[in-house]
């Protein structure tokens, strides 16, 4: 008797669908087919995550037992608003970037490799969704590696355009592996202390344990995830990896990979550990300082970069600083601001990197000089870049403003090492730096003359432009309609923080 799986499987579907779709992709004929297939898969997955978000939003957290084994023995997927939002975000980015990828991939990657490329993309999507979905700490590691390994391959595929992609991928591989190893070591220590791997169960069994094993486990896990999310000073793998990867990969990764890691960090800090542990305060203070250092250090580097991809990559490092800052406040508002920024920054960076991808496609370079006089040569791309650049600075009416506003609002209510007002001013000052490097880009594009005897070029293909502008419009749309971002983020943050006060479960 065949049952058609219904809504009860919804938590697992976003992971299962791309997982099953991936092997089909590898055996497809190179060219258009794998792309169409990947696009279809990303859309179906996106639909599932949307449905899931809807269910969780109105019906509360849901749970899915893998193989029918109950927690803490079996692996369970727990979806609350926080993961649902992150999953939706990841799938949404895939649903926009995959259609966009075709022309970009066609020009940047050997035709014979295209099935492998889309397979890796889908597997990466699987991994990222898996990390977000699962409620089992070891399962997190597995999915972390699934996404990371495919990412290394994807970054290395940039080698056709620039051989340095190989070095970048190798650096990334070494660092990513160290990060994952640290994570697993930390997890091993926690397992030794508690005998469980289920996050909820870990939280319960960790309560009251205050010994060296748990402390060391905590340190390893925070460092490991910190490396994966490119927390300053563990960020050095990121600029090269993003800078040399194929454009579509950069757009997808910049919008999703570090965001999922941030989510994971939040999950560990607030769900698995909690304020009972005195070292949590220390970690939060560390985030505060590293976040601020990152905001400035990376922005300064970005100001002086001449490669736009790398400039934006460093800007990503700086933006991660904002997210860490939000986490470090240890308040509902701070966490909300972080989640909002995760969402908004994904929109911003996806749009920016997609715009840069269009330029790379047509001009063949992401050096700043290639952008000279772009306004006249590729107006659609230019204005998309301008708008999303303004969003990065935080100019209304774009989502970047909502992020900054929320973060400043949260900063005002906190009592941290650094006086709130100073934090607010620092946020403002680093926005100023963003204004400088984005201003440089805009100035080059809009006000400078195109180079003499520059060959006439066409606008980017329709598929890319449409995808790009969808992101740009999303950047503006979510300024006016903040139910999804601020609304969900607030509830998610409340749910996460509530577990501290002991109201309801950890989820």
């Amino acid at each position: 008797m065949i049952h058609f799986p219904g809504l009860e499987h919804l938590p697992a579907l976003p992971v299962i669908i791309p997982l099953i779709a991936a092997p089909f992709t590898i055996v497809m004929r190179p060219g258009r087919t794998p792309w169409l297939w990947a696009t279809l898969v990303s859309w179906v997955t996106f639909a599932c995550t949307l449905l899931l978000l809807e269910v969780v939003w109105h019906g509360g957290p849901t749970e899915y037992k893998m193989g029918g084994w109950a927690a803490p023995l079996g692996i369970t997927y727990y979806i609350d608003l926080a993961n649902a939002l992150v999953m939706m975000l990841v799938a949404a980015m895939a649903a926009v970037v995959f259609p966009y990828a075709y022309f970009s991939v066609k020009s940047e990657i050997a035709r014979a490799q295209s099935p492998a490329f889309y397979t890796a993309m889908i597997i990466c999507l699987t991994g990222l969704l898996g990390v977000a979905a699962t409620g089992d700490a070891f399962n997190v590691f597995v999915f972390l590696e699934i996404s990371s390994l495919s990412t290394y391959a994807l970054v290395a595929m940039g080698a056709r355009r620039d051989r340095r992609a190989l070095t970048a991928a190798f650096n990334y591989l070494v660092m990513g592996t160290i990060g994952a190893t640290f994570y697993v070591i930390g997890l091993g220590l926690l397992y030794q202390a508690t005998g469980t791997l289920n996050m909820l169960d870990l939280h319960e069994r960790l309560a009251g344990q205050d010994n060296k094993v748990v402390e060391a486990g905590f340190a390893f896990i925070v460092t490991g995830i910190g490396l994966k999310l490119a927390m300053v000073p563990l960020h050095l793998w990121l600029p090269n990896a993003y800078g040399f990867a194929p454009s579509a990969v950069t757009a997808f990764l910049a919008a999703t990979a570090t965001k999922v890691q941030i989510y994971l960090m939040v999950r560990f800090i607030y769900t698995v550990f909690g304020f009972e542990f005195p070292f949590l305060e220390v970690a939060l203070n560390a985030f505060l300082i590293l976040g601020i250092v990152g905001m400035f250090y990376a922005s300064f580097v970005a100001v002086f970069r001449d490669n736009v991809k790398q400039m934006l990559a460093y800007s990503s490092v700086a933006q991660i600083g904002y997210m860490l800052l939000g986490i470090s406040f240890g308040t509902v508002d701070g966490l909300t601001a972080s989640f909002v920024h995760i969402f908004n920054h994904a929109l911003i960076k996806a749009a920016l990197f997609m715009g840069v991808g269009c330029v790379v496609l047509r001009i063949g370079s992401s050096q700043l000089t290639a952008f000279r006089g772009l306004a006249r040569r590729m107006p659609w791309t230019t204005w998309a870049l301008v708008l999303s650049g303004l969003s990065l600075i935080g100019v209304p009416p774009t989502v970047g403003f909502i992020s900054k506003f929320k973060l400043m609002e949260a900063a005002f209510q906190t009592t941290t090492l650094i006086p709130p007002l100073l934090v607010v001013l620092l946020i403002g000052a680093s926005s100023l730096l963003a204004a400088v490097y984005v201003g440089r880009l805009i100035y080059t594009m809009v006000l400078e003359q195109p180079p003499e005897n520059a060959p006439a070029i066409k606008e980017a293909p329709h598929a890319m432009r449409v995808a790009l502008w969808i992101m740009v419009i999303a950047n503006i749309y979510f300024f006016f309609f903040t139910d999804l971002t601020v609304g969900v983020a607030t509830q998610a943050a409340e749910a996460l923080m509530c577990s501290q006060a002991g109201c309801g479960g950890a989820y």
Partner: protein
């Protein structure tokens, strides 16, 4: 959607369209945009429009009331005059700014809530920086960066203030704020907003960006800059801080110190920039007094000042356009060949000095009356003193040194027709409103008060004539005795010296020492890493490849350090 269509939005959209138009077409289009915006404004009734819902708060994009109306009207006039004056300009960036920047200023004036104000506030900063950047040389670039930094600083302070104000009051509406609470202590949020406004209106010691950046812009750029930024700030002060006592003294001081600097300044553009400070000072005093008369005077004077200040800038600009210099030492004697420009300049000079029969006379009197009514003797004397000062630097120095004084030998052509037309319109407004002020008075916010006010009373006339004529007499006496200081080519230090010289040196010192420390640490680190790597290399690895691996080693080292710190700290706590 038409709800959202206010002059600010129309100008901004128009500005973006100009970017795509051919150079010849742009100027007609710009005039059309201004005309269209004026028509829209004309048909708008007073009230609030364009209410948006944003995270549970209502934003009011357009608040068209008696106070904002006056500024919108005069900004339209100024924008139109500027387009006519700069009819020959084909520079895309400048054309863009010529719409975007007034648009931002008007958007700010019409903003009904703090958030909208903030948006336009920053827009005004960003769109105007292109004007400073105009001639594109290294010194203008540096000045533009200084300008931008200061303007954005104002925006950041404003945003911080807004957040605080919002937390306290729970409302985003842009209403009057109390700088002090009942106990007389400063309220922090409003203070930040106050400073933000203060930077834009060039409060004393925060004023230097005006002299620093404005003269660097192109001729038309300077004219525009002189109109919008500071007047937007004046409006914001009038809206937010009318009747705040601190403003009276700040304003009085603002009217005073530029007089002396203007006297010895050789660059006539800078003289006019000091004049802006001085003029805004009068308005700030009026706002600080806060009575119906004084506020009427302040905003009325803002209206007048925009007209005659830009008339002065325009005539000076015409002279610069023809001779290529703005130095008093290099100008002079050109009245022979530029009689029309000279005449129009004199009209502006008479007007700014508030000679009876001019726009200055019918508006400035209100401020001084406002002060007198409150029996603020000292302030009253300061304002009279400052009026003599205005006469000195704007009323006499500008026309005298530009067109008369010693003969520079230059015989430039008369100003081009478009400039003469723009200046002519300005001059007609100066005299016309001066003789028949009722239309302007009808625009002032406190109608009850203005209804009983008549500028042309015998006493007012006598008092003004005595003050001005005897001041001119003093000038003549000084000139004849040779006591009047000759113009010498020089640059005068002002407060900006602090950040341009010792500040810069300090910054340089910090950078070099940080760099030195960094190199020290870095070199040692690299040496250490190399030693480690060489050690490993002896036992493992093939030849070479050291330079390739060390970045990874470096990252790994950092990872180890972070882990170590985390471990130590968690263990110790």
């Amino acid at each position: 959607m038409p709800e959202l269509l206010n002059p600010g939005v129309i100008f901004t959209l128009g500005a973006f369209v100009t970017l795509f138009l051919a150079a010849g077409l742009r100027r007609y289009f710009m005039l059309a945009v201004i005309a269209f915006s004026a028509t829209v404004t004309w048909q708008m009734d007073l009230g609030n429009y364009g209410n948006l819902q944003l995270f549970g708060e209502t934003l009011t994009v357009t608040r068209y009331d008696v106070l904002s109306r006056l500024f919108v009207v005069v900004f339209h006039i100024a924008a139109a005059l500027n387009v006519i004056y700069g009819w020959h300009i084909k520079d895309r960036v400048e054309n863009f700014s010529a719409l975007a920047y007034p648009g931002a200023a008007m958007g700010g004036v019409l903003a009904g809530d703090w958030l909208t104000l903030f948006v336009w506030w920053e827009m005004a900063a960003i769109t105007s920086v292109f004007l400073v950047l105009g001639p594109r040389s290294r010194s203008t670039y540096m000045a533009a960066m200084r300008y931008l930094a200061i303007q954005i600083a104002s925006g950041v302070l404003l945003l911080a203030g807004i957040v605080l104000v919002y937390r306290e009051s729970g409302s985003l509406m842009f209403e009057a704020l109390a700088l002090r609470n009942e106990a007389g202590d400063l309220n922090f949020g409003p203070l930040l907003v106050f400073i933000a406004f203060g930077i834009k209106s060039a409060f004393p010691l925060l004023h230097n960006w005006v002299q620093d950046s404005y003269p660097k812009a192109s001729i038309t750029g300077t004219i525009m800059l002189s109109v919008f930024t500071t007047k937007l700030a004046v409006y914001a002060l009038a809206r937010g801080f009318a009747g705040t006592g601190e403003l009276i003294w700040l304003g009085a001081f603002m009217t005073l110190f530029p007089i002396f600097f203007a006297l010895i300044e050789n660059d006539l553009k800078k003289v006019l920039c000091y004049s802006i400070n001085n003029q805004v000072g009068f308005m700030v005093v009026g706002i600080g007094v806060g009575t119906a008369t004084a506020v009427n005077g302040a905003v009325g004077y803002a209206f007048g000042n925009i007209i005659f200040e830009s008339l002065l800038f325009m005539s000076l600009g015409a002279a610069i356009y023809r001779t290529g210099t703005s130095k008093a030492t290099e100008l002079g004697g050109i009245y022979r060949t530029m009689p029309l420009t000279m005449t129009l300049c004199v009209v502006g000079a008479l007007s700014i000095s508030a000679f009876p029969g001019t726009l200055g006379f019918v508006t400035k009197g209100l401020i001084i009356d406002g002060v007198a009514e409150e029996h603020l003797m000292l302030i009253w004397l300061i304002l009279l003193f400052a009026s003599a000062g205005v006469l000195e630097h704007a009323g006499i120095k500008i026309p005298f040194f530009t067109f008369f004084a010693h003969d520079s030998g230059k015989r430039p052509k008369e100003a081009p027709p478009q400039m003469l037309i723009a200046m002519g319109i300005g001059a007609v407004l100066c005299i016309g409103i001066g003789l028949y002020p009722d239309p302007l008075y009808a625009l002032l916010p406190y109608q009850d008060q203005i209804a009983g006010y008549h500028p042309y009373t015998s006493y007012h006339l006598i008092e003004q004539f005595q003050l001005l004529l005897f001041a001119v007499l003093a000038f003549v006496v000084l000139q004849k005795t040779g006591w009047y200081p000759a113009e010498v080519p020089s640059v005068n230090l002002d407060f900006d010296w602090l950040y341009r010289v010792p500040g810069r040196a300090f910054l340089g010192w910090v950078i070099t020492s940080v760099a030195a420390i960094w190199h020290l640490v870095w070199d040692n680190l690299v040496r250490f890493m190399e030693a480690v790597a060489r050690g490993l290399h002896h036992t493992h690895g093939p030849e070479g490849a050291l330079s390739r691996t060390w970045p990874i080693g470096f990252m790994a080292l950092f990872t180890a350090i972070v882990l170590g710190i985390m471990l130590i700290v968690t263990f110790l706590i």
